[in-house]
């Protein structure tokens, strides 16, 4: 059976990215907006590296995997350029906890897919290209395996 890429550590990391974006100007109740902004930043950086099509397919896969856990994410779509449609309006449609859960899992799936393909060290480096202060200890290799 395929392992869920959105591991607890990936979820923690996703929460950190969302919090980091929220701190950059979004009110705490607008988690989806912050997640949207985080995805956008990742898209811009990863599209240069992996190509628009490459990033789009990764995000589409992450969305499909996240939908299995959070069905209301079906309302979200990945556009041709790899950006997310409808994610920003979710804050008004769902309560704060639900919205947060959805966006955290979506981001965690995306990060988890990157880890699956290129490993934790390179994923962290790519993320740190965008958020240089992203904590390395979240990705501390092997931590999860020992638990």
């Amino acid at each position: 059976m395929m392992m869920n890429a959105a591991t607890p550590r990936m979820r923690t990391f996703a929460r950190w990215l969302i919090a980091r974006e929220a701190a950059a100007g979004y009110p705490p109740e607008e988690k989806a907006q912050a997640a949207f902004r985080a995805c956008e930043k990742l898209r811009q950086h990863l599209s240069t590296f992996a190509g628009v099509a490459g990033f789009r397919s990764l995000l589409s896969r992450a969305l499909i995997l996240a939908k299995a856990e959070v069905p209301w994410l079906s309302a979200v779509e990945v556009k041709a350029d790899g950006s997310l449609a409808e994610l920003g309006s979710l804050d008004t449609q769902h309560d704060m906890d639900e919205a947060e859960k959805g966006v955290v899992i979506l981001l965690a799936q995306l990060l988890g897919l990157l880890v699956t393909f290129i490993g934790e060290a390179l994923t962290l480096r790519l993320v740190q290209d965008v958020w240089p202060d992203a904590p390395s200890d979240v990705m501390d290799s092997g931590k999860e395996k020992k638990q």
Binding site: S47, T48, F49, A50, G51, V52, A53, G54, L58, L114, F117, I118, G119, A121, L122, R125, Q128, D129
Partner: protein, 505 residues
């Protein structure tokens, strides 16, 4: 123009062991190069090795990917190699995907994108992987002139920005004649991969490299966890000339030393040829044991017997090969896989010789060496062996090789190999049938350096090694293996005439 007036071209390391030497010292800085070859032959891995060897935060590498292997998968696989340094990815190597531009726009837009990134990053190294896809797309939509113009502008811009460039492509050799990219390129490196019987043979060729004296021809290379490793046809020892021997090395068999007029001249290649069971490996072990006893370092490359056998045998001669190994005075290489290339085996030998400063080398046996090679390399064996022996004797190593020959009972073949090329000296061991016994004789066929005994001497294999006995002077036709006594020999003199005639055939 004097040497002082000439511009000095800096040479960049390739990061590939052995390849700098093949390229004449490294990659010329600011050159515009093509890495060509079929799928799976190691083009991308070679480019990554070059990138990781040269990229720095001040002068990073720009790696453009185009419609080929997706960048994420490329990183997934490339990080498995030992040369992959993840620390460099953050600040020294930048991957840029050009697929969208190539698919949706024209060549000018592709060039603009490359120029924009190059001007922003100030890279030392630029790679376009795969450039072939750019060309395919271009030729499908525009003409050859536009392509030529694009390549010209690309080469000009990248050189002006002081970048050393590599365009990677899946080309076939037939394309070389008509493709403008090959004309513009300063360097053209072709990688080949063929399957011969059950083995994969990888070879590379530096078809051109402007301004540099490269080692011509095809060189084998291998891809391991460490990445590519190339094996120069000259083994990095070109230009070494053999100096005349100043002394002779003892074989460890006093009688044999006498027959050789003092021993084997230092720096000679001596071949010991004989059929199975005649003691070739024992003689080789005695030669090495004597070297160890005298404080000379040595290497035994065994292609048939395990190291343990040499160890036990040397113990019988009173020499502890195990201790010599631990102290770095002896190296025993057991080379038995069936997919070795000649060059990599030879490189392993050369490295071992250089590592311990060996003065004696045993190759036991050439027949086993040939069998250990991938079938595709066997046809090059004799030529490669000649290069190895010339190279090593050129730096003063004395080589004793053994070779198995099948005894014929009508003649005495020396070896299946071209003896004069391979050896300065030749000892032949053989069986002879005398009085209902299969006995052994030894003869020195040639010594390039001078005088040697012409005697055919009987010998025995004892616990302490080869024990050389007397000359079998009562017999004629010893070289045929079925000698007959001379008429004046006591054996014949004492017989009635009829029986004596019969005995002499």
């Amino acid at each position: 123009m004097s040497d002082q007036d000439k511009v000095s071209i800096r040479k960049l390391p390739t990061g590939v062991p052995g390849l700098d030497e093949i390229m004449g010292g490294g990659l010329p800085e600011f050159s515009f190069n093509i890495i060509a070859g079929g799928p799976g032959c190691g083009k991308t891995t070679l480019a990554h090795q070059i990138v990781f060897a040269n990229a720095t935060p001040e002068r990073p590498a720009l790696y453009f990917t185009v419609l080929g292997e997706p960048a994420i998968k490329m990183l997934r696989y490339q990080q498995q190699y030992q040369f992959f340094d993840e620390a460099k990815l953050l600040n020294s190597i930048r991957f840029v995907n050009l697929s969208q531009v190539v698919l949706e726009k024209d060549l000018n837009a592709v060039l603009d994108e490359i120029v924009k990134e190059v001007e922003a990053a100030n890279p030392a190294i630029v790679v376009v992987d795969s450039f072939r896809t750019v060309i395919r797309k271009t030729l499908a939509s525009t003409g050859e002139w536009e392509l030529q113009s694009f390549i010209q502008r690309l080469a000009l811009h990248l050189a002006s920005w002081q970048a050393t460039t590599f365009l990677i492509g899946e080309y076939v050799p037939e394309e070389m004649a008509n493709n403008p990219v090959f004309t513009v390129a300063d360097g053209l490196f072709w990688l080949y991969q063929t399957v011969e019987r059950n083995s994969v043979v990888r070879k590379l060729e530096v078809i051109k490299l402007r301004g540099q004296g490269t080692v011509p021809g095809l060189h084998t290379f291998r891809i391991t966890d460490a990445g590519l490793q190339a094996f120069s046809r000259t083994l990095g020892l070109s230009g070494k000339r053999k100096v005349p021997a100043e002394r002779c090395l003892s074989t460890g068999i006093p009688e044999l030393d006498k027959m050789l007029s003092g021993g084997i001249p230092e720096g000679d290649s001596i071949l010991v040829a004989g059929p199975s069971g005649t003691g070739k490996s024992i003689l080789a072990t005695q030669f090495m044991a004597e070297g160890i006893r005298r404080g000379e370092r040595g290497i035994i490359a065994g292609f048939e017997e395990r190291s343990q056998k040499y160890l036990v045998r040397a113990g019988n001669f009173g020499v502890d090969f195990g201790a010599a190994q631990k102290e770095g005075r002896l190296s025993m290489l057991s080379l038995r896989p069936l997919d070795l290339s000649v060059e990599e085996t030879m490189q392993e030998l050369v490295d071992a010789v250089n590592k311990i400063g060996a003065k004696r080398l045993v190759l036991d046996s050439l027949s086993g060496f040939e069998m250990a090679l991938s079938p595709g390399f066997r046809q090059d064996f004799r030529e490669s062996l000649y290069r190895l022996i010339s190279a090593l004797t050129g730096i003063g190593v004395t080589i004793l090789s053994t070779v198995e020959v099948e005894d014929s009972f009508t003649a005495m073949p020396f070896s299946a190999y071209a003896v004069s090329f391979l050896s300065d000296d030749l000892i032949r061991l053989r069986y002879v049938s005398i009085k209902g016994e299969l006995r052994k004789v030894l003869v020195i066929i040639k010594m390039r350096g001078g005088e040697h005994s012409k005697e055919i001497r009987e010998y025995e294999i004892t616990f302490a090694g080869l024990k050389i006995g007397k000359r079998l002077e009562e017999y004629q036709g010893l070289t045929t293996g079925v000698p007959v006594p001379y008429p004046e020999s006591p054996e014949i003199r004492e017989l009635p005439q009829e029986q004596a005639n019969k005995k002499q055939g």
